[in-house]
């Protein structure tokens, strides 16, 4: 299927520097694609280039058609919508804001009124219709901005850190509402955020951007559970890094070996220096060593409890294994049942497939800089 939005060899240049340089970027119909990365990665620049707001080199296609001229970019902008971190409401009422955008998008007459009323209702702000922008809270203003964006049934919604300026309770409420609305309508969304929890909550697919280049691109599960590099894993909050080497064992077995010789069975990975990532959710704790044949987990290792940290209704158990850190996430009840305390000696059971191998200093999927002479600027 043709992507709704597709860019090839996209380069955004400022002065002599390529701020963004991406070989290929595509958004499929109905997809919520999240672009995540650190500040200064070029996420907003990428979004604005794809929305036709910034000039860029390379090839951009919208609904299969090439976007070449300012006229094409205006057509793209009319059929899509953008919401920024600040709402940028016009100096008029809430209703006036939504209507102004609809008029620019080519709607008029009774349809403007109907769509405005429907959009305000959808975001739960119909009662604010006659209020002016200065009389709105931050959350209300952002709801108006989203209503303004959705009123025209855009083909793609571009969201540039839409929740970043909101306090946590407001953010949670709006995030839930927006997710529900997008899911019900099958809206195609390109969502830029630096917040990994937000990304994990909303994304179908994730693109990790750093220094204007794609570092990893894939489904939410792929990127969050199998980060392609140390940079991605650190950013996404992987706290457990084991440093060692992948070696091939008898048969097809792969082992991740620590410098002191201790080893974990792992499912996949190329032989050589690597990091091993073990998510706390994948570690099971036992008071006694189990019978190896009664367990599917290939790794049962002795560990010592370093610390027990509260995390709401859960407990994060910080462990030490051969001087290396491991973590286990358990319920409060489980922690109470095991009567865990610092210094306790336990066993940790880890499945081989849960030991994820990250090649050391690896960067996958990076777009290469493009020769500017060969590309048109659009």
């Amino acid at each position: 299927m043709t992507p709704i939005l597709e860019a090839r060899n996209l380069v955004v240049r400022r002065g002599r520097k390529d701020i963004v340089s991406v070989e290929r970027f595509a958004v499929e119909s109905g997809e919520v694609r999240v672009v995540i990365g650190p500040n200064g990665a070029g996420k907003s620049t990428l979004l604005r280039a794809l929305n036709g707001l910034y000039p860029a080199r390379g090839e951009l296609r919208f609904e299969g058609d090439l976007v070449r001229s300012e006229r094409d970019r205006r057509r793209l902008r009319r059929r899509t919508a953008a919401v920024f971190q600040q709402p940028f409401l016009l100096a008029t009422t809430v209703r006036g804001n939504v209507e102004a955008a609809l008029h620019r998008r080519g709607f008029d007459g009774a349809e403007v009124h109907e769509r405005t009323a429907a959009a305000l209702d959808l975001l739960g702000i119909a009662d604010l219709a006659e209020r002016r922008r200065d009389g709105l809270s931050g959350g209300e203003a952002q709801r108006v901005s989203i209503a303004r964006a959705l009123a025209g049934d855009p083909v793609v919604v571009f969201l540039d850190e839409p929740m970043a300026a909101l306090d946590p309770p407001t953010r949670r409420g709006l995030l839930e509402d927006v997710q529900r609305i997008f899911a019900a309508a099958g809206t195609t969304v390109l969502w830029v955020t630096h917040d990994r929890e937000e990304a994990a909550a909303v994304a179908d697919t994730v693109t990790f951007l750093a220094d204007g280049r794609v570092v990893q691109d894939g489904s939410r599960g792929d990127v969050f559970n199998r980060p392609a590099s140390e940079e991605v894993a650190e950013y996404l909050g992987v706290d457990v890094w084991l440093t060692g080497e992948v070696v091939e064992g008898p048969g097809d077995a792969l082992r991740f070996v620590l410098p002191d010789g201790a080893a974990l069975a792992c499912g996949e990975g190329a032989p050589g220096p690597a990091f091993a990532v073990v998510h706390p959710e994948d570690v099971t704790l036992l008071r006694a060593q189990p019978d190896a044949e009664s367990l599917s987990a290939r790794n049962v290792v002795p560990v010592v409890v370093a610390e027990v940290r509260a995390r709401g209704r859960l407990r994060l158990i910080v462990l030490r294994w051969h001087g290396q850190p491991l973590q286990a996430l358990v319920t409060r009840a489980a922690a109470d049942d095991l009567d865990l305390a610092a210094g306790d000696e336990l066993y940790a059971a880890i499945k081989a497939v849960a030991v994820q191998i990250v090649p050391r200093a690896a960067r996958l999927g990076a777009g290469s800089p493009v020769d500017p002479a060969g590309e048109r600027e659009w």
């Binding site: 929305n51 707001l53 902008r77 059929r79 919508a81 940028f88 102004a100 955008a101 080519g106 002016r132």
Partner: protein, 233 residues
């Protein structure tokens, strides 16, 4: 003090009894300054928007000239305009010297830099995100400019009041270009100078009070419009 009091009393007597000469002078002041400020707005606001939104070589110089223009002495503007409109000047064939229209040209040149400079400053204060947001609606350049101007309508009104205050109160350009001809080009400021030179201080004060009342009345209207635009519901 006696002189000032006489002047104030005379001012109200002239107004209440409807002195035709005073009314015609006051009306002529408005006939010169109101069209001037409207023309200045029509030129200055779009030009300010264009400069604010466009990157071009020499932009810095243009902005410097605009800001410098805000401080141009009205009498110097009047002199330059008069040199052009003089019968022997390059635009003498237009027969505009010593006419109301000639005075309007001079006051437009005084008011336009003020309107342009203050509008430009207001636009540059606006968050650049507004431009992107309006463009994201699919707005073209013209609609973008219109919507941005709407965002700064309160500062534009302030710029209008500042410029109007400058031109209705100026005497240099009005004298040089208009000639202060009674019944034809005499306005309140030039009439005040004339009465003072004649020793009619009470009459000069009276006209001064009328000028203040006129300035107050026009600014009351503009302030009401400005504050209504600003008021939060």
């Amino acid at each position: 003090m006696h002189l000032i009091w006489n002047g104030i009393v005379q001012a109200f007597e002239l107004l209440i009894h409807g002195n035709p000469l005073v009314y015609s002078i006051a009306l002529r002041s408005l006939q010169v300054s109101v069209p001037s400020i409207l023309i200045a707005l029509a030129i200055g606001v779009p030009f300010a928007t264009l400069v604010a939104l466009t990157r071009f070589r020499g932009r810095h110089l243009v902005i410097t000239l605009i800001n410098t223009g805000m401080a141009w002495p009205p009498v110097v503007i009047g002199l330059i305009v008069a040199l052009f409109l003089w019968r022997s000047g390059p635009l003498g064939f237009l027969d505009l010297i010593y006419t109301v229209r000639g005075m309007i040209i001079a006051q437009v040149l005084i008011a336009t830099p003020i309107v342009t400079g203050l509008s430009l400053a207001a636009l540059q204060q606006l968050d650049p995100g507004y431009r992107l947001q309006i463009l994201s609606f699919g707005a073209g350049r013209a609609r973008l400019m219109l919507l941005l101007v709407r965002e700064i309508r309160v500062p534009i009104l302030a710029a209008s009041m500042a410029a109007f205050g400058r031109i209705i109160a100026e005497v240099g350009a009005a004298t040089i270009v208009g000639g202060n001809i009674q019944g034809q080009t005499q306005v309140l400021t030039t009439a005040i100078v004339q009465r003072t030179n004649m020793g009619d201080f009470a009459g000069a004060i009276a006209l001064g009070v009328i000028l203040l009342l006129l300035a107050f009345a026009t600014n009351l209207v503009m302030t009401t419009v400005q504050q209504r635009s600003f008021w939060v519901v």
